[in-house]
Amino acid sequence: MMAIFLVLDVATLIYSILFGYYPRISLFDATCYRILYIHVPLAWNMYFAFTLTFAFSLAYLIRRDERFDCVAFCSAVLGILYGIGAIVSGMLWAKEVWGSYWSWDPRQTTTLTALLAYMGYLALRSSIPEIDRARNVSSVFGTSAYITIPLSFVSAVTFRSLHTQIPQQPLGFEAHILLALRVATSFALFLSFVRLYYDRVRKKVINQT
């Protein structure tokens, strides 16, 4: 199943990079609009990954089932990787359209804060040798750090920001369909990665105990 999602994701990625719609405007190199087809799926998957971490951390604190903690951990690791991808692709867009790679814009800054918070989650977890305590502390941290995610999301909606939202973008029907396809395939691939990573971590934990 994962191989199918991988092929679909790579196929839609290549198609969108080579043939994806972009609006005609002479202000800048408009082909850079195609970064959108990479940036948006990465960013949405990051938000979803940290939402999973939040939900499963909370579930662990309530049920004390170590499988929940395992999902939270795997999803946090993937969320950080997707988040780094989203920030880097966003910076490439920002250089072309805004004029600089980094502007300390509300969206950029709050997303970086969220990413640093979840890097703190991993650092904290790995610094505690006792496994049960590590699970407890990181679950508390993983639940609390989630507040940075809605803040990151609303930063460009309710605050004045250089970052626009999809409905404000000058994209036609064709672009929306392609973007939806990119989001769907990359989301399916993300879930496959979570599953794969979860199986590996669980196997390692079972072998250790």
């Binding site: 805004w98 930063s155 970052h163 626009t164």
Partner: protein
């Protein structure tokens, strides 16, 4: 101690960090400058006034928010939307209230909106 007390405390701490981040990175509007009475550093978001962009050895243009308008002088060059009147920019620099001018050190353009693209297509 309630086992969820650390979550509440830590969430409040992260919330405060996020809130402070948002407040320290937010931009003023052009009409906020009406209340600025002394020379000082500002970071303002506004629309580039249609047809106001001129470049010789430095860049000069005007920004507005539909209520108030100020002049911007930038000693470098950046591509600006001079056509639509909807092109948003963020200007950082020193504001001189006596002549309503910002001497900018940073000018950045927002992603173009539907209105900007339409104006360029009709131009």
């Amino acid at each position: 101690m309630n086992r969820f007390a650390p979550i509440v405390t830590l969430t409040l701490a992260f919330g405060l960090i996020g809130f402070l981040t948002l407040n320290s990175t937010g931009y003023m509007t052009v009409s906020d400058l009406r209340n600025v009475k002394e020379v000082g550093r500002v970071v303002v978001m506004g629309n580039v006034t249609k047809g106001s962009v001129h470049f010789s050895d430095h860049l000069e243009f005007r920004i507005n928010d539909g209520i108030w308008e100020v002049k911007v002088i930038y000693p470098s060059y950046v591509r600006l939307d001079n056509v639509s009147g909807y092109g948003k920019v963020v200007v950082e620099g020193t504001y001189y209230p006596q002549n309503e001018t910002i001497h900018a050190v940073r000018v950045e353009s927002k992603c173009p909106s539907k209105e900007v693209i339409e104006a360029y297509n009709n131009d």
